[in-house]
Subunit: 332 residues, 4 copies
Amino acid sequence: MHELRVAVVGLGWFGERHARVYSQLPGARLAAVFDLDATRTKRVAAVTGAEPHADLPGLLSRPDIDAVSICLPDRLHLNAALAAVGAGKAILLEKPLAHDTTSARQIVEAVEARGTRLMVGHILRFDPRYVQVYEAASPEWLGEPIHIRAKRNGVRATAKRLGGASSILFYMGVHDIDAMQWIGRSPITRVYAQKRQALGTGNEDALYAIVNFANGAVGSLDLSWAWPAGLMNGYRASFEIVGTQSAAYLDCADQGFYTVGEEGTVGGDTHLWPEINGRIVGDLADEISHFVEATRTGKPYMQHHREAFAAIPVLDALKESAERGVPVEVRR
Amino acid sequence: MHELRVAVVGLGWFGERHARVYSQLPGARLAAVFDLDATRTKRVAAVTGAEPHADLPGLLSRPDIDAVSICLPDRLHLNAALAAVGAGKAILLEKPLAHDTTSARQIVEAVEARGTRLMVGHILRFDPRYVQVYEAASPEWLGEPIHIRAKRNGVRATAKRLGGASSILFYMGVHDIDAMQWIGRSPITRVYAQKRQALGTGNEDALYAIVNFANGAVGSLDLSWAWPAGLMNGYRASFEIVGTQSAAYLDCADQGFYTVGEEGTVGGDTHLWPEINGRIVGDLADEISHFVEATRTGKPYMQHHREAFAAIPVLDALKESAERGVPVEVRR
Amino acid sequence: MHELRVAVVGLGWFGERHARVYSQLPGARLAAVFDLDATRTKRVAAVTGAEPHADLPGLLSRPDIDAVSICLPDRLHLNAALAAVGAGKAILLEKPLAHDTTSARQIVEAVEARGTRLMVGHILRFDPRYVQVYEAASPEWLGEPIHIRAKRNGVRATAKRLGGASSILFYMGVHDIDAMQWIGRSPITRVYAQKRQALGTGNEDALYAIVNFANGAVGSLDLSWAWPAGLMNGYRASFEIVGTQSAAYLDCADQGFYTVGEEGTVGGDTHLWPEINGRIVGDLADEISHFVEATRTGKPYMQHHREAFAAIPVLDALKESAERGVPVEVRR
Amino acid sequence: MHELRVAVVGLGWFGERHARVYSQLPGARLAAVFDLDATRTKRVAAVTGAEPHADLPGLLSRPDIDAVSICLPDRLHLNAALAAVGAGKAILLEKPLAHDTTSARQIVEAVEARGTRLMVGHILRFDPRYVQVYEAASPEWLGEPIHIRAKRNGVRATAKRLGGASSILFYMGVHDIDAMQWIGRSPITRVYAQKRQALGTGNEDALYAIVNFANGAVGSLDLSWAWPAGLMNGYRASFEIVGTQSAAYLDCADQGFYTVGEEGTVGGDTHLWPEINGRIVGDLADEISHFVEATRTGKPYMQHHREAFAAIPVLDALKESAERGVPVEVRR
């Protein structure tokens, strides 16, 4: 098997990390990078040794490139993904798959029509906490799920930074809706949501929702990026599932590492993408490593793209419910 | 000031603890106890030195009794409270005030008509974690509340033990609805709830709700007594409030004390009613001590009975929403 | 039983809290206060309604005063305690009993010669975490103790504030040596200590020690007040005991209450002396309440003064070992 | 660069995991395995696809093998490592380097004489918590170290399983001594230790030590494998360093993942070697991946073998101190 030659498209916070992980992976070679901002393209190219590209079509036309990470803003996913499919590239698409169900459906249908490959960057599928909760929640051990709760809270600076480029549902909620359906082993059929916009970030501050699963379980979703900057570790995520026989939960509040200065006690990331010994390790590195190996060897991705797609109609229903103030059925 | 002479009516788990706390308090004398179960009455009387009574009217007719703790099942609160009011006794009424709004209203109106005193056993008003969150959530520091989350989860054994004698809303939820309106400094106006009954305990297993406050905040309520018996410490409660300026939260998961045997690591209670050095200390003891002192001295109770009443119409609305599957306005 | 009439001598951080607790306790009346600083005396007198005194002999000569809390700096304990004993007062002496074994012995011998009463303010005896570890560590459940670890760490500001008025061993270590001998149910016989003085506070920054118990257990003691000001909750204390059958531990790191602002996440005290609803509650209030009731009723104090005394020779041995750099036998 | 062809020698708990990680790594090919127990050899060979070998010399004589993981009991490290050096193989030697200073010195001198390569499996060098504490403890940020504490506690079943094959110092303590000298950036010069043997496992139950560093810092070491089987997560490790300017710490008690059954709440590993999605990830996988890449590319290992060696004389000194009961100077 030759090295997988990859390109990264979109070099924001996530894209730059994708590029750096590819450049450190033994089975991959980072061949090209592209961002709408040429300065950023040059900087990341210089750091990683990849070739900078000034336009996406030029990059995609290179026959030596096997695969591409797309890390663009949500609303640019559709066109970039269709172009990459058209060029026959394997795609690692940062979440969310797309900014609405219609766009998401277009992408997965194009992939299937063309026979190319697509993996969505659902990083929790590579987090030892979430995967172990998933494994513990097997029907044999858990019994039938009774209730499922998912929480993802961050700081208001993120909402301000993103402005209208994403939304609390598609930026954060997509993780939890995917996790709820995956770990709960059942699709969400009906949702009710209430949101709040008091901070003026151009985004929702918070969104609370209750969901119903096809298997009868009830779910609670707790999304916020209204927390002040001083929130320990910058985010709070947790998940719990209680079944008729037993239960499992995870809580990301304590990452095990702290610094103490005159000003306060501050935590750090030890799971998602910690940089240690000059390398990015943890969930994101494992996700990208899996993408590289599965693409090289032709093995299936950890999550089929249709399973990733299944989160998007739920997000659309949550959006509609939060706007209308009534429960909404999920249309797939 | 003479010692306050008190009686305890209802000697289940809570009533027995009330009796024991009174019997250890310097400003109080436990004069009488009564339970529908005469064996229980005799046992608690023997332990505490109180006089056992075989019927409630006889107990209430004693002119030497100043005050009474009512710790009966929810549905017996109305008659017992009206009788105690009629007898002119100050009342410490274990939560919930009553099992529905109509009954609760009858009790508070009787108290006001007769000019007697009533305190509801909202123990969180005496918990250093909840009170400090309340104090931190002052408008000056917190700004305007954006979102408020309350969680109270317990083990399924409790649901089985209570059977139809109480409900997840009136047994557990009353704590959190009182806390949300108190700490959020605003009444709840609209609710949506979904419940689940899979375990066959004769009670709900879990109830998730979203609520709206008059001040615009949104709230999430997470109630469950579906957890297996092995849940660390037997319960999980947490609360958080995020405002436009800052935020505060509490989490009761870690009580700081653990034992480790061959079978596992087990926690313990260090806040609610720990028994140390042969005495009950913590929140419940502080609550009862406050009731004694405020009754003796004629000072106001920490919480006015009308403020305690305000939780009940919200519980009724939650019950209705969970049954009908639609959002419901709170009628006061 | 009449109310216990008490005085507080020494109105620093602890003394002021003693005064406030007495003034809120039903069975006690705060009759007098005294501090070397007359301004402070007047302020606390005004707050609590006690009579301010300008000198200790005058205060102690009042026949209406039954008991006195002594909250002076360590080195003033001897003379003040002897004077209070001479005046026949019951004494609540803030820890440490005295600043060395000789002084401590003089005090307890004077108490015994005069037939008065003495309780030392070992607050951990009233902490639900420590008491429950003590109770769990019964020989029946724990078996024979194998190893015992105690930690008490604070911030450097405390060391700077105290300067030479106390020491890390007598200010902090006395808690843990008392706890180790109490919970381990055996006296410490031999010690080895190393200390560090790099911060120039006029005190040790840290002291690590290993101790041997008469029953064969080994112990580790970890004292520091070198932490930067930002240490969560301001202190870290933990304790663990592992026996031949089972084990128990406590950790005070998480108090369950947090505030989050722009600058960081900050914890708070929910056990030692939290002020809620305008009152001091928790361990210190329980300790002082016990002193009042036991003194009024003539019942024994939770800890006999000879058991409190037993910590002091260990502290002297630790001091000597840290200075000489060799193991030292404890002389009693 | 061709794939690195590796063999694993010793297929106990660690060796089997080494073999499985190699077999999943893109840059490596697991060519051979060997254990003294032929049944075990065959089983691991079958699982991983490696060729089973019946003797070590035969395995080492294969010219197609580039590198070897040695995962044998401590006392067999010397001969196996010398043989592998003699055969010119790069070595990943599971900790401890050897069971005493003399043996360890022989190994590193043989490596240097022959010009081969050696990496010791100090897994904490790949743990995001320890590495981030190391990075935070830079002189620029931390200032001068004042005190350093390291804890590693496990369950008594481990001690029973190992019997005399290892010791608490060489099995567990080597991690912490390496971490203390690495993060403290200074060698340990003097030690004092006390141990306990009450459980009859053929090993120490616990060992407490105090150490002095060349830079003046004092250290506390807390080792135990006396905990009952029910210890949450099976082990407790923590580390803290307080400097003249600031401080950092880590605590492995909370790994963020829990299951709850009727019997209790049980944690899990999310850092060391969690198996998720059918693969071993985390610290051990990162360590082995680094060994493969650095060996293939000729880059230096994260830790030079002389730095790994530096822990062994400290362990010997601790052993001597625990036996003699006096402080001992470290001889290098």
